[in-house]
Symmetry: C2
Subunit: 314 residues, 2 copies
């Protein structure tokens, strides 16, 4: 078996900070992003282009994205809710933009007051915008199926609806589709099943990434299931930053440090230096002293004789 | 695929309490064991037969074991360090006794001042004792390979040593061998590898159970790997009780509640009613108010539309 190279997409500066009560100061964000990249993180979701009234944590996204572009080799990812956000993302020079589409239409209507058709309309408009750009300036465009493993309002979402949304995003011009366990409802059997089903309609090459939460402690088990299905890109958040607004004490996003530990221990290279990654927790702790940082590996420390992937002995 | 029936062996009353600073009062232990059994837990490690000077938390094990025997259908498991402990276990009417053998000889010498040969000698003496009993009174005898995935003193343990220990335990008369990630060093690839290697020398039917920790957050991912290798018995501790003495804030044993949630969500029946199981946390919290109880699922609650195994809709 050839070892797949795993891409970890660090979403702490966006998904993490967006769910914090406090606002991280712009200079701290820059220090953190630079330190993450120096630790070997190759892709960072640095912010989202949403209304600063709604999310003051994200109001410096243009400046942060511009800074992140200066970090050599870093893929600068941003979240956008609509065409307007995509225009701002293009102006900021983002390398990758992600548009979420909640497969639970109830959730979509409640959160952004848009039907599936309306969100797919935004996807089409964004595709048209991107098609008008010179090839070198065209960001990668991902449509992300949120609440794909269940919704706190609807419960399980019918598979036919998920597949229709996946097809709709590809038809609207997305470069790929991602799966997102927004609610922390996923289990390993469900992860396998939905990956296979979605790949069955849009093709394996168009689904390579997954966004998992650890709300009920199954995050890394779900990673393992996805990995075994051939998924190679995993979102994660340093320190599980941001927690889970609906579950005090439970982390939301899977913790990057634990994910890197698992993958590297298994012999799967992430390109990330785990000790350098863990050292970046201090930047977050100093900038957001009231936020709890999660993660088992940082607390327990690395095992005696730990060897990351590619450096294993005989 | 036929769904295997999974046996969860609850080790909280032994492994959990043994690592607590406080001592749980005997009546609370009984209430807890009865409530666990009422929630559908079929096997409980109720205590260990060790010196009360060393482990005052375990001094009521004879009374607890006698009580547990009165709970209909419950398999009463105990830990014993040597022949003397096994004699006490037999006198107490235990259904299953587990003798740990640390594959790290350094760890064995440091912890119990015994070489592998000496521990295997105890195993032989225990086997002789059990062989002298009438068939109906003969407990099941498990040899448990502790530090099987690495040792805090030695680091990784050579595979040849692990296999020799497994063969030694079977040759000494054990009915089966279990694997134990005492240190929380295991990763899914290592779990698969060691299971296959050990089964290769003692036969798959003689290795059906595993004891995993969640020290570095990989506990349930390791369960998934073991499950996929055909392991059907998993140790776990309610609330991750006892924590990890060497890693404050990190749980030691995998949390029974999260394990049951994962398995049942995957359609694998455990026979355990998850809500009734979670309700038993109150008994522990009241009896040991200073102990932290872990577990993501109890904090986050069950997903909307959650259906345990065997009760899934169309």
């Amino acid at each position: 078996m050839t070892q797949p190279a795993i891409l970890i997409s660090e979403v702490g500066p966006r998904d993490g900070l967006q769910n914090c009560k406090c606002v991280m100061a712009t200079p701290a964000k820059k220090r953190w992003i630079a330190a993450l990249a120096a630790a070997g993180v190759r892709e960072i979701e640095v912010g989202s282009f949403v209304s600063p009234r709604l999310l003051p944590q994200m109001q410096d996204t243009p400046e942060i994205a511009a800074f992140a572009r200066t970090v050599p080799g870093l893929v600068v990812a941003v979240l956008v809710p609509n065409l307007k956000g995509a225009e701002a993302a293009v102006a900021a020079g983002a390398d990758k933009i992600t548009l979420p589409l909640s497969v639970s239409e109830t959730h979509s209507l409640r959160n952004i007051r848009r039907t599936h058709e309306q969100v797919l309309g935004e996807a089409k408009a964004i595709s048209a915008l991107l098609a008008s750009l010179p090839p070198g300036r065209r960001p990668h465009f991902e449509g992300s199926l949120s609440t794909a493993f269940g919704c706190t309002l609807e419960g399980p979402v019918a598979e036919a609806v998920i597949l229709r949304c996946a097809e709709g995003l590809m038809a609207a011009g997305c470069d790929e589709v991602g799966l997102s366990d927004t609610t922390g409802y996923a289990n390993p059997a469900g992860v396998r099943h939905i990956i296979r089903a979605v790949r069955g309609v849009i093709g394996a090459q168009n689904l390579t990434g997954i966004h998992l939460h650890n709300t009920r402690g199954l995050g890394l088990a779900n990673v393992l299931a996805a990995l075994e299905e051939g998924i190679t890109t995993f979102d994660a958040s340093l320190g599980g930053l941001g927690g889970c607004p609906t579950a005090p004490g439970a982390s939301g996003n899977i913790v990057t440090e634990d994910l890197v530990f698992m993958l590297e221990s298994m012999g799967l290279s992430t390109g990330i230096d785990l000790e350098a990654l863990m050292a970046t927790r201090r930047i977050v702790a100093e900038a957001l002293p009231e936020e709890e940082l999660y993660g088992f590996t940082p607390r327990a420390g690395l095992p005696l004789g730990y060897q990351p992937a590619g450096r294993a002995g005989p």
